[in-house]
């Protein structure tokens, strides 16, 4: 085994998406020499014939065959001769559907790739590099607006007394709001999205409530994030509330604890704040849904049926396993192997018939699966806030020639066979002509940065509590509050963007207003 093969093997071993490739004997294909490849429209060789053959034409043919085999909408890809496109990256951009949804948005907004070493640089679950504040980027171009949505305890940000509701004004001496040159925006990106510990950055913030200016210098470090926080009871103890930020591996135990706490408090209603939860492990979403709804509502029912393209009705084309629906999970799985709780331990449940979910456009993927999964078993979901992102899709990260590709490979349907929510879920009274979300009971309310999360007077939480009492939504005080998001302005100035995640392929994303609260 030579060095490059060893490297490939390690990379393969650490990516499920590649594990199946290993099974097919990828190392054998390395031995084949330069290949003359003929392209015939509509005829496809197996992707294995081109796997890890790192010449541009071979890579493009691998992408073509792999997409034909696994892309969810493979039959909507226009088959083009790979030899006629200059680069591998450019060819990959073409290997997606160009269809649009009924609302006019791109059907596929999630087609992307990353250098494999960058993708493989995982994080210890729950650990990020940073300062300990999470920002909501309302407008990435000038005039920019970004507000701290919450801070992590025991972090540089919390030690500097920064809280939700501080707007970024300046980063390392650069005007965050109005910077117009790429050089200045690069400085902002480097400061705002540090790639390693020790990065020192000076910030100026302004409070959205008091207009106080706060100048601080923060040093980036490894931050232990808390996926589940603010577990409490409200309304004389009858309503449970908690903030659920991520379906990451370390969230399982605190979720278990949160539901146990609320169960012991005999709550009769539950509000889960998933406004900044972009998803993660799907099975964890099924655990949350079970802990809300209980055995009687979920027994032997499907939380989500995973569906690949019609070439793979029985077996998962990536893992080779027989396709089995994800049921409502009633036991502790052990994502992070917690020593105090064994896998198989029965989960607590609140046995509720309805749940209130606080959402924004950052509520995505596995979080949306909770909504869809519960609706599939007739649990009433009451949605307060803004429309969700609309991502009923998933993929396996798949490496070829040191690039990891993400192409939509599966979608999910609930117990009723429903899974069409590419425009997200939105409260019933949302006014939004740009998207066609699935309407859900509840109220459209703009995210309220003037109050801390968990504060009963914060607009989303206050609306949920009021809706529970009256069944009515507040009269909108602004277009933003009726839409559930603050309209943003877009300009042709450089974007502030998390360069740690920037992709090779342009994602050609439509940025509807709903995505820019």
């Amino acid at each position: 085994m030579n060095k490059s093969q060893y490297k490939l093997a390690v990379v393969s071993a650490l990516s499920l998406g590649v594990l199946s490739g290993c099974g097919s004997g990828s190392s054998d294909s390395n031995s084949s020499g330069p290949t003359v490849i003929n392209w015939t429209q509509g005829e496809f060789q197996s992707s294995r014939n081109f796997q890890q053959q790192c010449q541009a034409l071979n890579e493009k043919h691998w992408l073509r065959s792999w997409s034909n085999e696994t892309y969810l909408w493979y039959d909507e890809i226009v088959d083009r001769d790979p030899a006629l496109t200059d680069s591998v990256a450019d060819y990959f951009k073409l290997l997606k559907t160009e269809e649009i949804t009924n609302s006019g948005a791109n059907k596929d907004n999630f087609h992307s790739s990353l250098p494999t070493p960058q993708w493989q640089a995982q994080s210890q679950s729950g650990i990020t590099f940073g300062y300990g504040f999470k920002t909501k980027l309302i407008s990435p171009t000038a005039p920019r607006q970004a507000v701290i949505s919450y801070t992590e305890p025991n972090s540089p940000a919390s030690r500097a007394n920064l809280t939700r509701g501080f707007e970024i004004i300046e980063v390392d001496g650069v005007d965050f709001v109005n910077a117009s040159t790429q050089e200045d925006v690069d400085t902002i990106n480097a400061g705002l999205f540090p790639k390693e510990s020790g990065k020192v950055t000076s910030f100026a913030f302004k409070s959205v409530t008091t207009s106080e200016i706060r100048e601080v210098t923060l040093t980036a470090q490894s931050i232990a994030t808390q996926p589940v926080t603010n577990v409490k009871t409200l309304a004389d103890g009858s309503v449970g509330y908690f903030q659920f930020n991520s379906h990451n591996a370390v969230a399982e135990k605190p979720l278990y604890d949160a539901f146990n706490t609320l169960k012991n408090n005999n709550i009769t209603d539950l509000i889960i704040d998933i406004r900044y939860n972009g998803g993660g492990f799907l099975q964890m979403a099924s655990q949350v849904a079970y802990m809300i709804a209980g055995d009687a509502n979920t027994n032997n029912k499907i939380f989500e049926r995973t569906i690949f393209n019609d070439k793979h009705p029985v077996f998962n084309p990536v893992t080779g396993e027989r396709l089995e629906p994800v049921l409502f999970t009633d036991e502790f799985v052990g994502f992070a192997e917690n020593p105090s709780l064994n896998p198989g331990t029965k989960l607590p449940t609140l046995n509720l018939e309805r749940v209130y979910l606080l959402t924004t456009s950052s509520t995505c993927s596995a979080s949306e699966a909770i909504i869809n999964g519960l609706r599939g078993v007739d649990i009433e979901v009451i949605q307060i806030g803004a429309g969700t992102c609309g991502k009923p899709y998933g993929f396996y990260a798949t490496d070829n020639c040191d690039v990891t590709y993400f192409t939509i490979q599966f979608t999910g349907e609930n117990n009723k066979g429903f899974g069409e929510y590419a425009d997200g879920f939105a409260p019933q009274n949302t006014v939004n002509t740009e998207r066609l979300p699935v309407r859900v009971s509840g109220c459209a309310v703009a995210d309220d940065f003037t109050r801390q999360l968990g504060d009963p007077d914060e607009a989303l939480l206050a609306t949920a509590l009021n809706y529970r009492e009256t069944g009515s939504c507040p009269i909108p005080t602004s277009t933003a509050s009726l839409q559930g998001f603050a309209p943003s302005q877009q300009s042709d100035t450089p974007k502030v963007i998390d360069t740690r995640a920037i992709t090779f392929a342009e994602q050609n994303k439509v940025l509807p207003k709903a995505d820019n609260e």
């Binding site: 093997a9 071993a13 990828s26 490894s222 591996a249 370390v250 995505c364 990260a397 992709t503």
Partner: protein, 126 residues
């Protein structure tokens, strides 16, 4: 799984090689804990193991437990949402091991193993 298996064999061979070169019987690989926080060296070791860029780990990694879990949930797209927001597979796990006073980090599923020459660890008796 050929490549994964290959790693397993390679790792085992390397470790057995260590054993064979020793003059006296040596203990088997055992789970370990760090003697002092050395998160930078752990992060570098995992990065070498994975042939990847830098890894984010907690300051107290492997101080209380011999196992750590990594996931990609923090990797976000340009809208700030996780790329892998709907993950079907389980997360990757790594363990800290010790043998002959040398510490190793090992990927639990593949058994790919990386020595950590400057790391000070001890047998985990918990």
């Amino acid at each position: 799984m050929k490549s994964t298996f290959g790693i397993c064999i390679l790792s085992s061979t390397l470790l057995l090689g260590c054993t064979a070169s020793a003059d006296k019987p040596t203990p088997k690989l055992q789970h370990a804990l760090l003697q002092e926080p050395q998160s930078e060296l752990i992060a570098q070791g995992i990065a070498r193991l994975m042939r990847s860029n830098n890894i984010a780990v907690a300051k107290d990694v492997f101080m209380q437990r011999s196992l750590m879990v990594v996931d990609n949930v923090t990797k976000t797209d340009e809208l700030g949402n996780p790329i892998m927001g709907r993950q079907l597979n389980m997360p990757d796990r790594f363990e800290l091991l010790i043998k002959n006073d040398l510490c190793f980090v090992r990927h639990l599923d593949s058994k790919a193993t990386e020595p950590l020459p400057n790391v000070k660890c001890k047998v985990n008796n918990k």
